[in-house]
Structures are given as structure tokens and as C-alpha cells.
């Protein structure tokens, strides 16, 4: 169980980073984990910085277990204020590690605190908890990009 509840995870759970819904934002999503009732509301704000799309902000609120709450905090640290392509790479690394059934321990250099979730891979029931905020972020980004491409079509 120590594998699961690493001190880093408990720290993020007790002192979540980036929590609270903020303005401005381009899209907002509500995701739930229907098996245990974890819920998250998540907003993303995308920005063009010198022609490069950036995740200017990710803000969130919700309720859930320590794993889903800590994962939201780590997701914020990993994705906010990052170029969009880099953020998607982080998401891919996180997903791959967590769905690897323990084969892939993650790489601390590229993943930071997110490697602490490697232990979750051994608890199939908790994988959904850990992925909830990340997949909500992905959904929100896709919606924001959809919305902006429709805006452009309108122009």
C-alpha cells in the first residue's frame, strides 16, 4: 500500500496545487468516475505565444479520493503554462505508465512528481481515479480547439 500512497501523493492531496476554478477560460468540462462518484470540473485556457499554442492555465474543482485529488494537483503542475504539444506528451507518458500494469516505472526527469503514481498501476480499481483529471484536461483542450476552429470558420 506504501507503493500507492507515496508521501508525494499525500502531500499533493493535503496541499493541492492550482485548485479552484479561474477566469479566463476557453472551455469547461465536468467528468465523473461513475463507479465511485469522483467528480471534477475543469477549465482550460489556451493562448497563442509567438505562434506556439500554450496551455496558459488549467483550473479545477471537485471531490474525490486522495488519488484523484492528488492527480489533479500533479496534472496542474505538469500541464499548466506549458506548450500544448509538450502537455500532450506529458499526458501520453502518464497514461502509458499508469496503464502498464507496473511494467513502466516512469521517468522522474521528464515526469516530475507524476512518477509517484507508478504504484497506482498495480491497483486496477484506482487507475480510473488517477486518470480522471488528465482525461478531463484532454477533453477540455479538444473542446477548446474545436470551439476556436469553429470561430475561425465563422470569420
Amino acid at each position: 500500500m506504501q507503493d500507492l500512497y507515496q508521501e508525494i501523493i499525500l502531500d499533493h492531496y493535503r496541499r493541492p496545487q492550482g485548485r479552484g476554478l479561474r477566469e479566463p477560460f476557453d472551455s469547461q468540462v465536468h467528468h465523473v468516475n461513475p463507479t465511485c462518484g469522483d467528480e471534477i470540473d475543469l477549465r482550460v485556457h489556451l493562448e497563442d505565444r509567438d505562434g506556439l499554442p500554450y496551455v496558459a492555465d488549467v483550473s479545477y474543482a471537485g471531490q474525490g479520493c486522495s488519488i484523484s485529488q492528488a492527480s489533479a494537483s500533479v496534472m496542474f503542475e505538469s500541464l499548466a503554462d506549458k506548450p500544448l504539444t509538450e502537455a500532450f506528451e506529458s499526458l501520453a507518458r502518464f497514461q502509458e505508465m499508469i496503464q502498464s500494469k507496473g511494467e513502466n516505472p516512469g521517468d522522474e526527469d521528464t515526469m516530475g512528481d507524476a512518477v509517484a503514481f507508478a504504484g497506482v498501476a498495480k491497483y486496477p480499481a484506482r487507475i480510473k481515479c488517477a486518470l480522471l483529471p488528465w482525461l478531463a484536461w484532454k477533453d477540455a483542450v479538444l473542446r477548446a480547439s474545436d470551439a476556436s476552429s469553429t470561430d475561425k470558420d465563422d470569420q
Binding site: 500500500m1 500512497y5 492531496y13 465511485c36 462518484g37 469522483d38 474525490g64 479520493c65 486522495s66 481515479c129
Partner: protein
Amino acid sequence: MTATTALAPLDVSRIRLDFPILARTVRDARPLVYLDSAATSQKPVAVLDAERHFYVTSNAAVHRGAHQLAEEATEAYEGARAEIAGFVGARAEDVVFTRNATESLNLMAYAFSNATDKARMGSALPEGAERFILRAGDEILVTEMEHHANLIPWQEVCAKTGATLRWIGLTDEGRLDLKDLNLINERTRVVSFVHQSNILGTLNPVGPIVERARAVGALTILDACQSVPHMPFDVSTLGVDAVAWSGHKMLGPTGIGCLWAHADVLSAMPPFLSGGSMIETVTMEASTFAPPPARFEAGVPMVAQAVGLAEACRYLTHLGMDRIEAHEHDMTAYALNGLAQIPGVRVIGPTDTHDRGSAISFVVDGVHPHDVGQVLDDRGVAVRVGHHCAWPTCRRMQVPATTRLSPYLYNDHADIDACLNAVAEVRGIFGAT
């Protein structure tokens, strides 16, 4: 509870020998403490042997074929029906086999939507089917403590027929708010309610509900998933029109559930699933249907599971349902008392043993139920966490989810102690204050 003092207590250490799974270890060699029987019970060897014996000696498709094996299989299947019906005080021909209680409840719900559809089209319906035809403005009444299995099928019926869903609310203690019995009126066509809540443990008063429902001619349906396995149960004394329950929560195999209904109710219902075995005559244009219970058992049924469930009924009868009830009552009192001693722990549902079963939900201040369950799992204690397929009930009780322990006839105080000790550690681990 009265008069239980005279009953001989269950010999749990002997009973446990019949359940080999209880001797296994989990998570780094911890002995398994199984406290999740409200989700599904473990199975005694006798049940597994009965299933195996059927396959080894008499396996064949029932109600078909002229050979000896088919005869024996049919006898085993219908014999199982008689045994299981007897276990709940019913006549064999009034018991329909389904996959589980969810299917039993859907079977009842579909009787309404199918009858309504067919009436609209002017299609043939069984005699007496009028009581299943719904019109806009008709009402279906459930309670705010239903398992999704007795909620969503009725939401679906309403969406298809224009009927309105209403529900009896709950008190803060997690009992039915009986003031809401006033919701039963002449437009009420169905009152479908849970006997014992799988999340709150509350045992609901069947008598007053049935009395009001009868007075307005509403059909009454009881979800008895959490009562048939745990207490003496007799369909003929409850006064309801139909009862649904699952085999796997009462020591039986998965894949079999039951629906009991009054003969005149079953015979007035149009079929649910259709195909082989449920017909009387078939032409290319149309068919007529077999009388119940065959009308509701399309296709080759779950014979081995029926045989296994019948054996489970014998096993339970042999121990005595009154003794099982008394045993659970004792464990419920013990667990409620123990939980009350742990700081930061709150029981969701009745906190005394009056009209209450052994499923006990609780929350731990500052720690999510999923994390509570994980700590318990680490100590070998198997409980369920989440909304227990009763999401609206959680909302009403103002909790996102709960942790639930649910003992059965093979558990004892040592199991409850293991659970309580683990619960007492939880807040320390998460630094909750």
C-alpha cells in the same frame, strides 16, 4: 428483535469450513476478512458440488429432446424451482428464473411498457393486461433509497409511456419518510420499493405501504435482494404482488435470479424476451405464448445455476433462517457499537438495530471512502466503497460515497474487530484532523 434468545447460535468456525475461499490470504499473506456479502456472498462447497454433479451426470437442454438425459435435466430444473419456491413460501409455477434481480425488475417494468406499446397498436394482449397499460398522468412510485436496479427501469418506463415517476423521501436517519405515503393516490399504478436497503441497511415497513397501494389498486413490487438471504421470508404473508431477488447474494451461483408474482399478475403480463421455449404455437405471421413461468423464460435456461441455488436454499434452511437473522443482528449491534467508538466515524443510515439489517455504511471525516477501502484492503478486509448503485441515496444523505461492511453467516466478531481496527487507523494514515 424478540424471542431470538432461545435460538442456538451459529457455529461459525464450522460453517467457515464449508467456504474454502475464506481460508485464503490476500495482499501479502493477510488472512481474508470478507465483509462484502451485500455485493455477493461466497458459495459453500455443497453448492459448487451440486452444480458439478448436474454437469457430470445429467447435463442436457431442458424441456426439449426425448432422451433420458433431457428428462433428468428437466427434472433437476423443475425440482430446483420447487425447492427455491418453497424457500420463500411460494408455489413453483409462480417463480420465474431470470439472470439476476436486475433482470427480474426489468421483466416487471417491461410488462408495463410492452403492454402499453401493444395496446397503442391494437395488438393482442393476455387477459387482464389492462392493469399494465399506462397513460400520461399515471404515476409510478419508488423510494429515494432504491438500488439503481429498481429506479432506472422505472425511469425508462416513464420515458416510454408518459407516466410520472414519484418517490418517497428519506429522513436524515435514513428511513422512509412515511408522510410521503400521501403520494399514493388514485393515479398511482405501481409502487416498487426496496425491502432492505443495500446502502443504509434500513428495513422498510411493507405492511403500511402495501395497504395504501392496495386501496388505490396499484401493483406492488418488492426488491428483496437484501432480505431473502438474511431473514425468514414468506411471499404469502407480505401482501405484495411481486418480489425480485438474486441467487448470488444467498450462497447461490451467479447468473440466476428470481421473480415471484401472484399467478393472476404473471398471467396478465405480456412476454419480456421472446424466442424459443416461451411459445405455445408459432406461424410465420404470429405466435401465441406459453403460460407462466415458461412465458418469461425464453431460450435454454440456466439449469446448473438453478440446481446450485436450490442447494443453497437447502443449506440455508438447514442452518435456519431465524438463526441466521439472529446472528446477523448480533453482528450488526457489535459493529455499530464499535464504529461509534472510533473518533471521526459516522454511520450513514440507522445507528441502532431496530428494523435494520447488517449492511452498514459509514464515512470517515476527512478521508474519502475509496481511501478508507484501500487501507482496509491492505489489512485483508474486503468491503465495498462507492455509491453502491444508489447514487440518489448518497445525494440525499449528503455524502459523495460511503464505505460499507456487510457480514453474513460465515462472519464473526473477529472479522468485525479486524475491520474496526483498520478503520481506526485510517485517519492517522491520511493525516486527517
